[in-house]
């Protein structure tokens, strides 16, 4: 994985000192809260329901054991012994003290980590495929391109005060595991006539006006990635709406201008920027690539699995994913225990995951947008030993991509923007389906919950989505069906009137009953919904 050189380290260290200075000025009263807020936000520090909340960037979701240990230590030292992994491959801590935040950031910097640009109207942490470098179906590893863009976007002088936040994802396979088309810019590395280049999808997003990004250019040569991205941003910075923050995302601009007109303006700016010589040298990309080279996979490894323990066999079937190297798999650690809080991990669990990362996965793990952790390169022969350790740490939940593998935002238990709680709904649904034994029968079913219209829990992209709303001061939940964030990206539709908390859990069970009754052989919930449409589900819910 990527390692800092003295330049990267100096940038992060300088940022810590800058924030220390800003915090001092705030505590001394030289900065008002209005002036300080955008500065702390640009260092990932929010003020949430119970305290300050810190969001730490995990660039393209990749961590080594040292970093994971540090995340655990920070949970113990500055927080209350845990952290929350998010849908943007970040981690959030909920109980941070402002006066301690500069020291926390210095600790992070000591393991090449930071919280830079994890909030604010700037280019945010760049996300990627959590199976990058391991997936059999990828063209190349997308992370060198993500790293190139990470550097370009860090402290970008022109794009630190955009109309609104800006999120970029980079993938390099036709299977989309990063919700690429639901980002402000989604980049897919593609091949044309033997050369690599980037397809740019611009103007996707969730929030209150969800949109799937259209492709605005099918092929940008790799040495022009940065000027093209810069052109996309400059047009947005110039014309993006600033009068209404709900219309300020680039998706609205692309929608209002039309993708052709937006693309035309980008091309014009791009042609101009090419004359400015702003692209990083190709040698830089070549320097970055070896950091992401394959680890030294062994050959001739056994591929057989002893399935005599049914619990282990189930975990392998659900949580182990084929790998490009024979004898290896990617193992997904589910942070979704039945009745638990999706995405939360205790400091002790993080320490254990760090140990396992080192021992079984070439010192590398990943955070997924589904709020789980991946050990990308595990020997099949080691799986049983790994599973035994995970089980002892409460981390062997065999439920990846099932209805128990729920994405849920923090909701009203932690978030000041929330209308309703998300976590208790997730807890009750996983308990219900674990108890009624249908999880296996339902197969792949992606359920996603947000506590308000901002859609941090991706409810628009759930096969089943749940959205918390405020009904005269009482929590209420709308049900959505038919979303997907994979390569067949689609936006879910609302079924009808909302439900109270017990009602929404029943409603989820009702729609799964319709699916089990109506499905054809081999169909997932989403396929059946697409074939039969909304009506049968509505009928069962409200009929």
């Amino acid at each position: 994985m990527y390692l800092y050189d003295q330049y990267d380290q100096a940038m992060v260290d300088a940022r810590v000192e800058e924030f220390r200075d800003q915090t001092r000025r705030r505590l001394e009263g030289k900065l008002s809260e209005d002036q300080f807020k955008p500065l702390r936000l640009m260092n990932g520090l929010y003020l949430q329901l119970h305290a300050y909340m810190l969001r730490v960037a995990i660039p393209y979701g990749t961590l080594n054991s040292r970093q994971m240990h540090m995340l655990a230590d920070i949970g113990n030292k500055y927080d209350r012994g845990y952290g929350h992994f998010t849908t943007r491959q970040n981690i959030q801590y909920n109980w941070i003290k402002l006066e301690e935040a500069p020291d926390l950031l210095a600790d992070l910097a000591s393991v090449e980590m930071h919280a830079i640009q994890t909030s604010g109207n700037c280019i945010r942490n760049i996300s990627s495929d959590h199976f990058a470098g391991a997936a059999a179906d990828e063209l190349v590893d997308p992370r060198p391109y993500a790293e190139l863009l990470r550097q370009w976007s860090s402290f970008h002088p022109e794009f630190s005060f955009l109309p609104r936040k800006f999120k970029i994802a980079v993938i390099a396979s036709d299977t989309d595991r990063a919700a690429m088309k639901l980002h402000d810019i989604g980049i897919q590395i593609v091949e044309r006539d033997g050369a690599l280049g980037a397809a740019f999808y611009v103007g996707g997003g969730m929030g209150r006006t969800p949109m799937v990004a259209p492709c605005i250019r099918e092929f940008v040569p790799l040495d022009q990635l940065v000027p093209y991205a810069e052109a996309c941003l400059r047009v947005y910075n110039r014309y993006g709406r600033r009068d209404n923050k709900y219309k300020a995302r680039i998706k609205i601009l692309v929608h209002e201008l039309g993708k052709e007109e937006y693309a035309r303006q980008v091309e014009e700016e791009f042609a101009h920027l090419l004359s400015q010589g702003i692209e990083p040298p190709l040698a830089e990309l070549e320097r970055i690539k070896p950091f992401f080279a394959d680890p030294e996979f062994e050959f001739g490894l056994p591929t057989g699995i002893d399935r005599s323990d049914p619990d282990f066999a189930l975990w392998v079937d659900r949580n182990a994913v084929p790998h490009k190297a024979p004898g290896y798999v990617s193992a997904v650690i589910s942070l979704k225990p039945v009745g638990g809080i999706p995405g939360d991990a205790s400091a002790a669990q993080m320490h254990e995951m760090a140990e396992l990362t080192k021992q079984y996965s070439f010192d590398e793990c990943r955070v997924t947008h589904t709020q789980n952790i991946v050990l990308p390169h595990v020997k099949i022969a080691d799986l049983h030993a790994l599973w035994t350790r995970l089980d002892a740490a409460g981390l062997a939940n065999p439920n990846i991509d099932t209805i128990e593998d729920i994405i849920a935002c923090p909701g009203l238990d932690y978030c000041s923007l929330a209308n309703a709680r998300s976590i208790p709904v997730a807890q009750k649904i996983s308990q219900r389906f674990s108890a009624n034994g249908r999880t296996a029968e339902l197969g792949e079913l992606k359920l996603k919950i947000s506590g308000c219209i901002n859609a941090c829990g991706h409810h628009h992209a759930g096969h089943i989505g749940i959205l918390g709303v405020d009904k005269k001061g009482v929590e209420n939940y709308q049900l959505l069906l038919g979303g997907s964030e994979a390569q067949d990206t689609s936006l879910a539709r609302i079924t009808g009137p909302g439900f109270d908390e017990p009602g929404i859990v029943d409603a989820v069970e009702t729609v799964t009953d319709v699916y089990l009754r109506e499905r054809d052989a081999g169909e997932r919930f989403l396929d059946t919904y697409r074939r039969i449409g909304m009506e049968p589900f509505k009928e069962a819910l409200y009929g």
Partner: protein
């Protein structure tokens, strides 16, 4: 009644105006009547509180109850982690916010 709440500038802790200072216990909040604006301005400029605002609340047998569920969650802590609330011994404590 009208009460004041905000966060401690340094620690971020949720606090309530108790008539002389800021308490972490909502039950110590006092009715400020018409004086909300004046107290908020004074306390914020002295940096004794941050991001403070006035809310409606009522007083019943159990103490002070903010009108909005969001402020009840703030007063208590996360309902999904009773151990981290101000009443860690009671696993059903979350029901108070509903």
């Amino acid at each position: 009644m009208k009460i004041l709440t905000g966060n401690d500038l340094k620690s971020g802790a949720v606090v309530w105006w108790d008539g002389t200072g800021w308490s972490i216990y909502v039950n110590e909040a006092v009715d400020v009547g018409e004086r909300a604006g004046e107290i908020l301005a004074r306390e914020q400029s002295a940096r004794r509180v941050n991001a403070a605002y006035a809310i409606e609340a009522s007083r019943d047998a159990n103490g002070v109850r903010p009108a909005h569920i969001k402020d009840r969650v703030r007063a208590l802590g996360p309902t999904v982690r009773p151990d981290l609330t101000l009443k860690p011994a009671d696993p059903e404590v979350g029901n108070w916010v509903i």
